[in-house]
């Protein structure tokens, strides 16, 4: 997902007041972290919560890094822990991690202003904060050792968790020095390591810490939460968005062995049972009559037809709808009238609704007693979840306790302004009461038809070129539902999540006359960010359009891009393109039977270039080798950056080739993986990842999302080279629902 708040701060990181290093001791452990304000005068020893610890050093010397961001596959825990371990000079093999509790003040995302994981910002916004926390802790051990040995601080060294004084031959590990170190007041602005002296960051040693647990079935997901008195709930949801319960008959449901109670809640009818299977059988036995007076009843095909009409002039604007300019330069309309000295390209592109389809369907465990709520689940946005739950239990957001568990995928789904499935669980737990834990389980069908889709999007682009074949005027129209409309934060103006990637494109920067506008009609389908957000469609439109223009100009698509990047002074784009071109062997013919396509896109502060090798097999595109080059600032874990390029490529390819949610008269047609086709093992490409070398200390940028949007256009561009035909709609392969 993307930054839902003030996006101007995306690159800014935490403000200075967030990174004052403080420390305390609790249960014999040393806790070092950062205060939201100057809390140097701490409360009673052992009181955790006065500040946000980021490093816990146990009495046995083991280090645990407190991660304010959720782990849902992206491997951020490894990178976050490595930042601390580097500055602390800890023994990496004795460094673990844990999720931070929900606390908007102490564990806010410096880029988003709330405790929230998104916008590929976990490492980016934690970089300064965790370096200082690690360096602060290190300084405490150094001072403790210097005092104990009566030597100068400057003569102390730390390596692999061992503090040494070379001249006297003395050394001690964190465990031995811990009691003394805990009495030291940490420097508020500790001296950071010279990045040129990093020994852990950027090496292959920075690996995931959870691979063994996840390879042995031991990781505890929300689905796996068990308790003696736990109840399992399933909910009958309306078949159309916006419908409400009119009446229901629970007789048959209550007759199912194991079913405990049936409740009407705002989102439907909930069946509560002793176990999951009883809850499902009970839910399936319900008879519910729905009031569909306010329901969305349009078909996705009709919505798309109207979107297309809005850009070709055949459909009229409805009341309240207006075009919003997101990039304007020169006089594109006049240029279009005159015509360029070169070619004209006019083309529309269509993108369907997409489900996130995480492997672990949405779920939550909540217990409510009076106005106290405690939740145990994979909270991607604890601050949002606290706010929304507080409204249900009539209490302050800070009173809502959340224990965050790892998630079986999210891709944006678990962070939304309504906390939809979380609130649903709390509504049921409130009915049950007595602090009894209730686990809400959504089936795959519930998950897939619940909405919060990547919006349906239509683009129309018209470009006229100059005598050399480069764009001289570019008009661009985007029609899509707004993700940010109705958001409790930010809002107003152009929805940046709908235009990012078109807005700010180096191709538009290289075009003298630009007229780019957005229209966001209201539709009653819940929509949400979906891994790489706006780039899921803008990267495709920009990159596939560029290849068509290069073709019209009779130029190699790589050389054509280079010329535009030079015009736009897009040095990072040039660098990733050059690296991908070199490693892919672009200058040489592709292997027999394969055709290459290239694409480049910047998002979340990183730039990715891919060269994909594609062929047609059994009437469908087959993608083989994909050479990826990324500029993501300082590379903390090359292994996990490669993992994100591999996985992100599969996620984007799955959508481009097969992904599509359709609505028939308001009903979602796809219910499970038999009708919502996703990329499988035999369809997966082989991704090679190359990281552009950076100056020491370059601020790290995102890797969770930037690998997703590039493969679609790279494949389309290969197919364009193969067939001469542009591909104007995703998915490329149709599945009948």
């Amino acid at each position: 997902m993307n930054a839902p708040f003030d996006r101007r701060h995306t690159q800014a990181g935490p403000s200075r007041r967030d990174v004052i290093v403080t420390a305390t001791a609790a249960g014999g452990a040393l806790l070092v972290g950062c205060s939201p304000t100057n809390l140097m005068a701490l409360g009673a020893e052992g009181e955790v919560g006065a500040f946000g610890p980021f490093v816990k050093i146990a009495p046995d010397g083991a280090v645990s890094v407190v991660c304010k961001h959720i782990e849902f596959g992206q491997g951020n825990h490894a990178g976050l822990a490595a930042i601390v371990a580097e500055e602390l000079d800890a023994d990496w093999t004795r460094v673990g991690w844990e999720h931070a509790p929900a606390n908007a003040k102490l564990y806010a995302n410096g880029a988003l202003g709330a405790q929230l994981t998104g916008g590929s910002s976990a490492i980016n916004n934690s970089w300064d904060q965790l370096r200082k926390a690690g360096a602060g802790a290190r300084a405490m051990f150094v001072q403790a050792a210097a005092a104990r040995w009566d030597v100068a601080v400057g003569e102390i060294t730390v390596e692999n968790g061992v503090v040494s004084h070379a001249a006297s031959g003395r050394s001690a590990d964190f465990r031995e020095l811990l009691p003394d170190a805990a009495k030291i007041t940490p420097p508020t602005e500790p001296t950071l390591k010279d990045p040129a002296r990093f020994t852990l960051i950027g090496t292959d040693r920075v690996r995931r810490k959870d691979s063994r647990a996840k390879s042995t079935g031991q990781t505890r997901f929300t689905m796996d939460v068990q308790a003696e008195d736990l109840l399992v709930a399933m909910v009958a949801h309306p078949p159309r968005f916006g419908a409400k319960v009119a009446s229901f008959d629970a007789t048959a449901a209550k007759a199912v062995p194991g079913v405990v109670e049936v409740y009407e809640i705002p989102t439907g009818v909930a069946v509560v049972a002793d176990n999951t299977w009883a809850a499902k059988q009970g839910r399936d036995a319900l008879t519910v009559t729905w009031n569909e007076d306010a329901a969305e009843t349009r078909s996705s095909a009709d919505i798309l037809t109207r979107f297309q009409g809005l850009t070709d002039g055949s459909a009229a604007l409805a009341e309240g709808e207006e075009w919003q300019a997101f990039e304007s330069r020169g006089d594109a309309a006049a240029q279009m009238q005159v015509g360029g000295q070169g070619e004209t390209l006019e083309i529309g592109y269509d993108f369907p609704y997409l489900a996130h389809a995480t492997m672990e369907p949405m779920n939550c465990v909540a217990q409510v007693s009076g106005n106290q709520a405690r939740l145990t689940f994979a909270s991607q946005g604890p601050t949002l979840d606290q706010l929304n739950v507080a409204k249900v239990v009539l209490n302050l957001p800070g009173s809502v306790e959340i224990e965050t568990l790892p998630a079986g995928g999210s891709f944006g789904r678990r962070a939304n302004f309504q906390s939809d499935f979380v609130v649903e669980c709390v509504e049921i737990a409130k009915k049950v009461g007595k602090n009894r834990p209730v686990k809400l389980v959504w089936t795959r069908e519930d998950d897939m038809s619940a909405g919060y889709f990547r919006p349906l999007v239509h683009h129309r682009v018209k470009v006229v070129t100059d005598a050399q074949g480069y764009p001289s005027a570019w008009t661009h129209r985007i029609v899509t539902q707004s993700i940010m409309k109705g958001a409790p934060f930010g809002g107003g103006g152009v929805d940046e999540t709908a235009v990012e990637g078109a807005k700010g494109s180096p191709y538009l920067a290289a075009t003298p006359h630009v007229d780019a506008q957005l229209l966001t009609p209201d539709i009653g389908v819940p929509v949400l960010w979906w891994r790489s957000v706006g780039a899921t469609h803008t990267a495709y439109v920009m990159e596939h359009t560029i290849d068509q223009l290069a073709r019209k100009a009779g130029q190699d698509p790589v050389e054509y891009r280079r010329a535009l990047y030079r015009k736009a002074d897009a040095k990072r784009h040039l660098a990733v393109l050059d690296l991908a071109v070199e490693k892919s062997g672009w200058a040489e013919p592709a292997p027999e039977g394969w055709t290459r396509g290239v694409a480049v896109h910047e998002c979340f502060g990183s730039v990715v270039a891919q060269v994909a090798e594609v062929k047609m097999e059994n009437g469908e595109p087959k993608v083989g080798r994909v050479v990826t080059a990324i500029d993501c600032g300082t590379a903390i874990s090359p292994n996990q950056i490669a993992a994100q390029m591999e996985g992100g490529t599969c996620y984007g390819l799955s959508a481009a080739l097969y992904g599509e949610v359709t609505l028939t008269e308001g009903r979602v047609d796809q219910t499970n993986f038999d009708t919502y086709r996703v990329l499988r093992h035999n369809e997966a490409p082989t991704v090679e990842t190359y990281i552009v070398a950076q100056p020491a200390g370059a601020h790290p940028t995102g890797v969770g999302e930037p690998g997703t949007p590039v493969i679609g256009p790279a494949v389309a561009n290969a197919l364009l080279a193969l067939t001469g035909e542009a591909i104007t709609a995703q998915p490329f392969v149709k599945t009948s629902a």
């Binding site: 596959g73 292959d204 690996r207 995931r208 959870d210 691979s211 063994r212 647990a213 996840k214 390879s215 042995t216 079935g217 031991q218 990781t219 505890r220 997901f221 796996d224 068990q226 176990n275 999951t276 299977w277 389809a357 995480t358 492997m359 672990e360 790892p406 079986g408 995928g409 891709f411 389980v441 089936t443 795959r444 080798r625 090359p638 292994n639 950056i641 490669a642 993992a643 591999e646 996985g647 992100g648 490529t649 599969c650 996620y651 499970n672 993986f673 038999d674 996703v678 990329l679 093992h681 035999n682 369809e683 997966a684 490409p685 082989t686 991704v687 990842t689 190359y690 990281i691 070398a693």
Partner: protein, 158 residues
Amino acid sequence: MAATLDVNGKPLAVQAAEDTPLLWVLRDELGLTGTKYGCGIAQCGACTVLADGAPIRSCLTPIAAVAGAKITTIEGLEGRHRLQESWVKLDVPQCGYCQSGQIMSAAALLAQSPQPTDAEIDAAMSGNICRCGAYQRIHAAIKDAAGQTPAADTQTQA
């Protein structure tokens, strides 16, 4: 009606009705939560366990159908299967939710075909969905466990 299931080498009495899917008996009654629910219709493979060594989708298998069969779940590998070593070595998991099912499908493959070809791996593993897209490392880890050098390693350049 009480039934007895042979799970990971132990006879275990269960209370669930005989038409209850094995998945929910394993998870809710026996507390073996390593086996995951993903789709409920045998489309994703997250619930894969072995019955007498053959991979089955426990979400659609009533316990009556596996009476007398030797059932092996991810817990039954006890973290000692060579696939699990390869999974850790190559850092295969991302979110990890599908990995129990992936490993059980791969274990059945290696038991039947210790030196699988790429095509055999594709065929055996295409019933297991990974939305994180860890397929490339899953493929490489199976080859690693089989003692083969992966055809194309992940390469990085810093």
